[in-house]
């Protein structure tokens, strides 16, 4: 089965004010099949937002894709011409940025913002455009779609804005959706509704989704596979159930231990000290030769200081980058 998306050896760096290059992603490899949901888990500084932006070459002006390939439906996105890229963005790949509040134009009604996405990729007459827009909004807003269509972003709640972003992203029937922290700053109930909406959209339109979050609990029951990012590198990637139940990478295991007890479905006592990952998140502006997790790893070995581990297959579609596993 040819994967829908195949990322190989992606390296991205940012240049700071002095012009020094600070690596954000290093050697990221993964692939995604059609209709599959991949959950990308990473904490601040792991490079998860950089990944979302880099796939569509939407990095800010100081970001640079240094090397790698991003094969989407057989074509390398990193080589695509500006014209082709514009057609793919929004047309074949839908992107939902963080912060629904600031991803919408402040002085345009949201219905028009959805129409604009349609108009950018398909040449439709006004009547059809308006019909398609209403249909789209009805998909994400089961009630009240008419009123929402003429509202401005500041008149909507966080959850409603998020739904508008989803409508924009699926407008032209893409085969891949990339959602960067779609439920941050939302209430638990609204969070569940939005995640449910992703499920529905996947079922009805058969699209693949890359869901990026810092809260792994959100991906339970939703993601088919999990990708754990640490310091711009893929620590572990595999089927969700397996990665949750038996994490192989020391970082993944430590991260799961940090979560409140109920999530781990294991006995815990309240009001006691939680497990923490000792040390601080890595400073990526400082060059390092070995594994980035080594300073905080409980299972570290000598080789970890001097060499970076490569990916090792440990199960069906399950890979880990750690020297614990010979490969």
């Amino acid at each position: 089965m040819t994967p829908l998306l195949k990322v190989q050896g992606l390296h991205v760096a940012y240049s700071d004010r002095m012009g020094e290059l600070c690596p954000a992603l290093a050697g990221v490899n993964f692939d995604l099949g059609p209709g599959e949901i991949l959950g990308v888990v990473g904490e601040s500084g792991s490079g998860k937002s950089t990944l979302a932006a880099a796939l569509l070459r939407l990095l800010p002006s100081n970001g640079k894709i240094q090397q790698g390939t991003v094969l989407f439906e057989g074509k390398n996105l990193l080589d695509a011409s500006a014209q082709d890229l514009r057609k793919i963005r929004g047309g074949r790949i839908g992107l939902i940025f963080q912060e629904p509040g600031s991803s919408l134009h402040p002085t345009m009604p949201v219905g028009q913002q959805v129409s604009d996405v349609l108009a950018a990729h398909e040449s439709l007459d006004r009547h059809t455009l308006s019909e398609r827009t209403s249909q789209l909004l009805a998909t994400v807003f089961p009630v009240d779609a008419e009123r929402i269509s003429v509202s401005y972003p500041h008149e909507l709640s966080g959850g409603q804005r998020q739904r508008v972003l989803i409508a924009q992203a699926i407008a032209c029937g893409p085969s891949l959706l990339i959602a960067d922290e779609p439920t941050a700053s939302l209430d638990p109930t609204t969070q569940q509704e939005i995640l449910q909406l992703f499920q529905t959209v996947r079922q009805n339109f058969g699209l693949a989704i890359i869901l990026i979050t810092h809260n792994p609990a959100l991906l339970v029951g939703l993601a088919d596979r999990l990708l754990v990012l640490y310091a711009g590198r893929v620590a572990e990637i595999g089927p969700t159930a397996r990665v949750l139940a038996t994490p192989q990478h020391p970082y993944t295991a430590a991260l799961w231990r940090c979560l409140p007890s109920h999530f781990r479905q294991s006995q815990g006592t309240r009001k006691t000290q939680m497990h923490v990952i000792p040390g601080d998140p890595p400073d990526l502006s400082i060059q390092a030769r070995g594994c980035r997790f080594e300073p905080r790893c409980t299972a570290r070995m000598e080789v970890c200081k001097s060499h970076e581990p490569g990916a090792v297959v440990v199960g069906e579609r399950h890979e880990v980058s750690c020297f614990k596993f010979p490969g």
Partner: protein
Amino acid sequence: MRYFLRRTLHAVFLLFGVSLLTFLFSALTPGNYFDEMRLNPQISRETVAALRAQYQLDRPLPVRYAHWLMAVAHGELGFSFAYNSPVGPLLWVRARNTLFLTITAMLLAWLLALPLGVWSASRFGRAPDRVLSWATATLLVIPDLVLALGLLILAVRTGWFPTGGLASVGFENLSPLHKLRDLASHLALPVAALVLATLPMLVRHVRASVAEVLEASFLRAAVGHGIPHPKLLYGYALRAAANPLISLFGFSVGTLLSGSLLVEVVMSWPGLGPLLLEAILARDLYVVIGGVLLSMIFLVSGNLFADVLLYWADPRIRIAASAK
């Protein structure tokens, strides 16, 4: 709505205040229109006194102000000593000429500033943008007077443009097409002077507002949706950057009567500017007050206009205003 009623009331009070101050200052400056006459030995002291009495210049200040106010309430703006005619019609003819000039210049300036500013912002920091910034900075530094004089010299040296006035001799006898051409050739230099004077600031404002918006998240999101480039710049970026520009536009409307004085005087354009200048020098009291009042009306209306435009253009302001 209450908001605008309040603002309008405020504006009326403002106009009262300005008229009073102008009256006061003009009356307090030493001398009056007839002082020149006093120096002329052929006119007797009694004649001067009689003239003064006729124009009520010997009455106390508050009385004169009250009379003037009553006259304004009836739509009369007073009497010009120098032209020996009512102020109203006099001002109107000149104001019309000024507006003709300034409206043309303003529209042209904005039509040029918007694309230039947007283009510059989209190439922010790169060579073309730097060249434009350098050019606008240079133009800003050159005083308006120098610009106007420079253009005048161009006219004199090349003979391509007339050097002053509104129309050539024998204007009435021309065919409509020729009339238009004649008008255009007389208009060209003053408009050019005004445009060169106001364009740099406008371009810089447009560039700054748009450049700021180009960094915004919603614009990156729009790029992510594949919105085509021209629509991004004009439909999204400029639209979001519109607020400060709309305010600026409103203020431009406010200065339609007052901003062109220098150019009019230098280029002999028969507008409000030269009239006011003469009147101030000759102590033609009512012309001065009338002219200042008219300019103030425009200024205040311009501000109000800016507010109305902003209210219409930005839905967030509607909410804030209705909540008050």
